[in-house]
């Protein structure tokens, strides 16, 4: 198969030869490797790569992936990093409108007409910058002779991959790991991997997040070797019984490679006591039937108790092939008949923040140090929940939330507000994904990936379909995916409120401000388990809560912390005492998005925001709305958050 640039224009082509998403577990050769957090099955490709930048698809070097290509005029770039932050192309911050606003007229393929594929929209886009990446490598000894895959943890926005001159595959979905099998073409030595990264494709319409618009391989890349028998995927199903005291655990496992030998599963508590010990022969699918856990130690924010699961995969002779450790907790989230959200049978209150991945020098290419610092800030300030706005985060963040009892709203990589929101008005005439058939599979795939990678994380209490993407049959399909695969979490989506008439529930709202002109199908009962709004003032929140609320209420974004803000937080918090159906919200947001640069006039390191790079159209300082300054020092408002969030810990 050959790569085709036209895929950039086609919303129905979003993954080519990608391996299916699967649980995000690590696997080690043995116990020593686990203790040292270093798997010999893994080889990092992070570091210097050769790099060539092109302003447009037409100007790019097209045969750079060939083995005999002379790359002597290529420069270098660090992987992971943002291309813009190496000054190859302009930084730009823009909120709602698309980054080509005022420069290129575009409409999403098939949005206005089923006969309108918008061919060439991106493959010939004058704004579609391209990064060409090359990396030469030898396989580590431990990886040789094995099945080898490569994992790109995050690439904005569309990538084509070659190995040793052979086309391997294509991926979109910038914030989700993409894996490809390299086995057919891998050599022990002198491999060359080639990646072509386009800033824009049809995916740009549904990745219109309010943020600096970057591109490039901005998360880590690694090779993964698998032993002859490999645990490809597993699903943990810890359940809490109706008495909220006992639990049970069922596990589904899926193996690839030789179907031989045994799998040995052990679950231990903190004291090292073994609570489950089972051995089963390896087959393609292995099921551990529900196993009872008496007097289970429940997991929550105060006491994020995790049990240790150890999965040993052994060959027929009993030799250990791989060790998969995983920690999980028992917790139960549900909605009571009184429309109150319960965690482990008790009312759940979300003292949350929205968190973009941000580093003032590295953009969205955040580090473990950033993540650890954020967790520390959460704990210090009584923040008990995070919404991964508006895309999946780096994998370690989910583990940190499990370990620290941070409730997660795990959001899909989906935001399309430019296609339905025009200077504040609801105008969905060319909305995608909406109900446009050609945009259905791409968003369901995003729901699937989010679920499959992160399904075993105890911290995730809510799946979120995305942000500000209006509503439509395609979002219903995403919701149905979650409902069909996971009955242990709630599904959240806010944008559906733009299809329902709230005259009875929130009489003081002006319909013109939230409903589109003309008829719209009411999706309220098809998209979200909870009633979610953003920035609804306290008085109107109270109106909803007073008028026989039929769903629990939350604010997925509130307390817009732009500049000197967070005044009047008490008006929201006191509603928690009056109305059990109110379960809190997520402050917008955790950290300012600003870039630290050297000021040529003063010579000082200073913060720069949208428009400071001659980037137009821009939304200027509108990305400066965090509880933290971009350098991770807290804003003065943090003491207010610590106080109010401490009232309902």
């Amino acid at each position: 198969m050959e790569a085709e640039i036209k895929w950039l224009d086609n919303p129905e082509i979003f993954r080519v030869n990608q391996l299916p998403a699967h649980s995000d577990h690590h696997f080690y050769r043995n116990y020593v490797e686990w203790q040292q957090h270093k798997s010999s099955f893994e080889q990092s490709l992070d570091g210097q790569w050769q790099f060539k930048f092109a302003q447009t698809p037409q100007e790019r070097v097209k045969d750079f992936y060939k083995v005999d290509f002379d790359a002597s005029n290529f420069g270098h770039i660090k992987v992971p990093s943002e291309i813009e932050l190496s000054d190859y192309t302009q930084n730009n911050y823009i909120n709602t409108l698309m980054p080509w606003e005022g420069k290129i007229f575009r409409r999403p393929a098939y949005a206005l007409s089923q006969d309108d594929p918008e061919e060439g929209s991106f493959s010939e886009g004058k704004d579609n910058t391209v990064g060409l990446y090359l990396k030469h490598f030898d396989l580590n000894d431990e990886l040789r002779g094995k099945q080898i895959r490569v994992r790109f943890e995050g690439v904005e926005r569309s990538m084509y991959l070659w190995l040793n001159g052979h086309f391997i595959g294509y991926a979109e979905d910038s914030f989700t790991p993409s894996e490809f099998d390299l086995t057919p073409y891998i050599q022990d030595e002198d491999n060359v991997i080639a990646v072509e990264v386009f800033k824009h494709s049809t995916a740009s319409w549904i990745e219109d997040q309010d943020m600096f618009r970057f591109s490039g391989i901005f998360r880590s890349v690694e090779l993964l070797a698998q032993p002859v028998t490999h645990l490809e995927d597993f699903t943990l199903k810890p359940r809490v019984a109706d008495n909220y005291r006992d639990g049970e655990l069922a596990i589904d496992l899926a193996f690839v490679g030789e179907q031989a030998g045994n799998v040995h599963l052990v679950v231990k508590d903190h004291d090292g006591k073994t609570l489950l010990d089972e051995t089963k022969p390896v087959t393609e699918k292995v099921t551990v039937e529900p196993h009872e856990f008496k007097d289970v130690h429940l997991w929550d924010n105060h006491d994020p108790y995790l049990y240790q699961l150890l999965i040993e995969v052994k060959d027929a002779k009993g030799n250990l092939l791989e060790l998969v450790p995983y920690q999980f907790g028992f917790r139960r989230i549900e909605i009571s008949p009184e429309h109150v959200v319960l965690l482990n049978g008790k009312r759940l209150i979300i003292n949350g923040v929205n968190r973009h991945e941000w580093d003032d020098h590295r953009g969205r290419s955040v580090t473990m140090k950033d993540m650890l610092s954020d967790i520390h800030t959460f704990k210090e300030n009584n923040i008990n929940a995070v919404r991964t706005c508006h895309y999946p985060d780096q994998i370690p963040w989910y583990y940190l939330c499990d370990q620290n009892g941070i409730y997660m709203m795990a959001e899909n990589n989906l935001e399309s507000h430019a296609t339905w929101q025009k200077m504040g008005a609801v105008e969905p005439s060319y909305n995608v994904p909406g109900s446009v058939p050609q945009w259905r599979e791409v968003v369901v795939d995003r729901a699937r990936s989010n679920y499959e990678f992160f399904k075993n994380h105890t911290a995730i209490l809510f799946w979120s379909l995305g942000n500000e993407s209006f509503a439509g049959d395609n979002l219903v399909a995403m919701q149905q995916f979650y409902k069909e695969h996971d009955d242990s979490r709630l599904v959240h989506y806010e944008g559906v409120c733009h299809t329902h008439d709230y005259s009875d529930q929130i009489p003081s709202l002006n319909k013109e401000n939230y409903l589109p002109q003309g008829e719209t199908h009411d999706y309220r009962d098809e998209l979200s388990d909870v009633e979610s709004w953003m920035y609804l003032p306290p008085k109107q929140v109270e109106e909803y809560l007073k008028n026989n609320p039929d769903k629990p209420f939350m604010e997925c974004e509130y307390m817009h912390d732009m500049g000197n803000s967070v005044g009047g937080m008490g008006s929201y918090i006191k509603l928690l005492d009056k109305y059990p159906q109110y379960f809190g919200g997520f402050i917008w947001d955790f950290i300012d998005q600003a870039l630290q640069v050297k000021d040529p006039i003063s010579g000082q390191m200073v913060m720069r925001y949208g428009g400071d790079f001659d980037d137009r159209h821009s939304d200027y300082e509108f990305s400066g709305d965090g509880l933290m300054f971009a350098d991770r020092t807290p804003k003065p408002a943090m003491q207010e958050v610590r106080y109010y969030y401490g009232l309902h810990k």
């Binding site: 817009h560 500049g563 000197n564 009047g568 008490g570 600003a594 509108f622 709305d625 003491q639």
Partner: protein, 322 residues
């Protein structure tokens, strides 16, 4: 003046001077206010204190259009108009119904004294319609000054961003100490603050991406601002010296920054602010909340507005110390 417990009163032709062991004050009839506040030989004023009505627009103010609705308060803050003919002076029991200048004062000597002097300046706001503000200084024999300000409400004016008195000091303070609330507080954002004694090093400007109102401290009992240098060319000392302010009846609100609201207003980045060289103390009688519902339209909650149609009065005490 060691032979008396009273203060020395100097009837000038454009000013009124008041002096004691460790203080000397000059009220200027021309400039319309306290021109010199000298304690232990150190000058504390760069220009006469003026009523202040503007705060540098916050992102939330901009989003809700408050800066546009209340724009005339920026002019009123920038330019001060003192009604000199309405300046009112009482020396002990003697009331001057017009300012005491020559020839009327020719009968005085260089040995005039008093126990208590009260001087009131009246300002007309540069708003349409205009309203008035009075600022009264009551000076006791020890040099203690009870300062009070009164805003006369007017129903045809837009809501105020702030109401207070602005003192600009000739040099940069090295820091300040206060007894009040932790951190930066506003009426709608002070629940999380802890009461205590705090030291602030230097005059930090909170580095919001776009410079804006910052650094307010609500409900303060005591404030001491410390400087080390003066602009007096003959002053070779670098010993720290302090100005002490305490509450009168009610706690006061203040911010102590190196910039005026206008300077903050005109910068789009922190580094565009001028070199810090003075100390700007705002003693605020009424502070508007910062809001937080959103940054594109929602107003600050009503109870945290400063309605223009109601009178505002506040006071505090400046204590000379040895």
């Amino acid at each position: 003046m060691a032979y008396t417990n009273k203060m020395h009163v100097i009837y000038g032709d454009g000013t009124l001077g008041l002096g004691g062991d460790n203080f000397h004050y000059i009220f200027s009839y021309e400039k319309g206010g306290l021109e010199s506040l000298k304690l232990n030989g150190k000058e504390w004023l760069y220009r006469v204190p003026t009523p202040t009505f503007w705060r540098a627009t916050t992102d939330n103010d901009r989003g809700s259009g408050f800066n546009i609705k209340s724009a005339q308060w920026l002019a009123a803050d920038t330019f001060s108009k003192c009604l000199n003919d309405q300046t009112d002076l009482v020396v002990d029991d003697r009331h001057f119904d017009h300012l005491p200048v020559a020839p009327e004062t020719n009968k005085f000597t260089n040995h005039e004294t008093a126990n208590k002097v009260k001087i009131t300046f009246t300002y007309e706001t540069l708003t349409v319609p205009a309203t008035k503000v009075t600022v009264t200084y009551v000076v006791g024999a020890t040099g203690q000054i009870n300062v009070s300000a009164h805003y006369f409400g007017h129903e045809d004016l837009p809501g105020l961003p702030v109401f207070g008195l602005r003192f600009i000091m000739p040099t940069l303070a090295t820091g300040f100490d206060y007894e009040g609330l932790s951190g930066e507080t506003y009426p709608d954002r002070m629940a999380g603050a802890r009461h205590g004694k705090y030291h602030v090093d230097g005059l930090p400007v909170t580095p919001y991406l776009v410079p804006q109102e910052n650094g307010m401290h609500m409900e303060t009992g005591q404030l001491s601002i410390t400087r080390e240098i003066t602009e007096n060319n003959a002053d070779h000392s670098a010993e720290p010296f302090s100005l002490k302010i305490s509450q009168e009846d009610q706690p006061f609100n203040f911010s102590c920054l190196p910039y005026t609201a206008e300077e903050l207003e005109s910068a789009t980045h922190i580094e565009e602010l001028p070199l810090a060289r003075r100390t700007v103390l705002v003693m605020a009688g009424a502070v508007r909340g910062v809001g937080g519902i959103d940054s594109w339209g929602a107003d600050v909650e009503k109870q945290y507005h400063i309605p223009a149609d109601q009178d505002i009065e506040f006071s505090f005490i400046i204590n000379p110390t040895k």
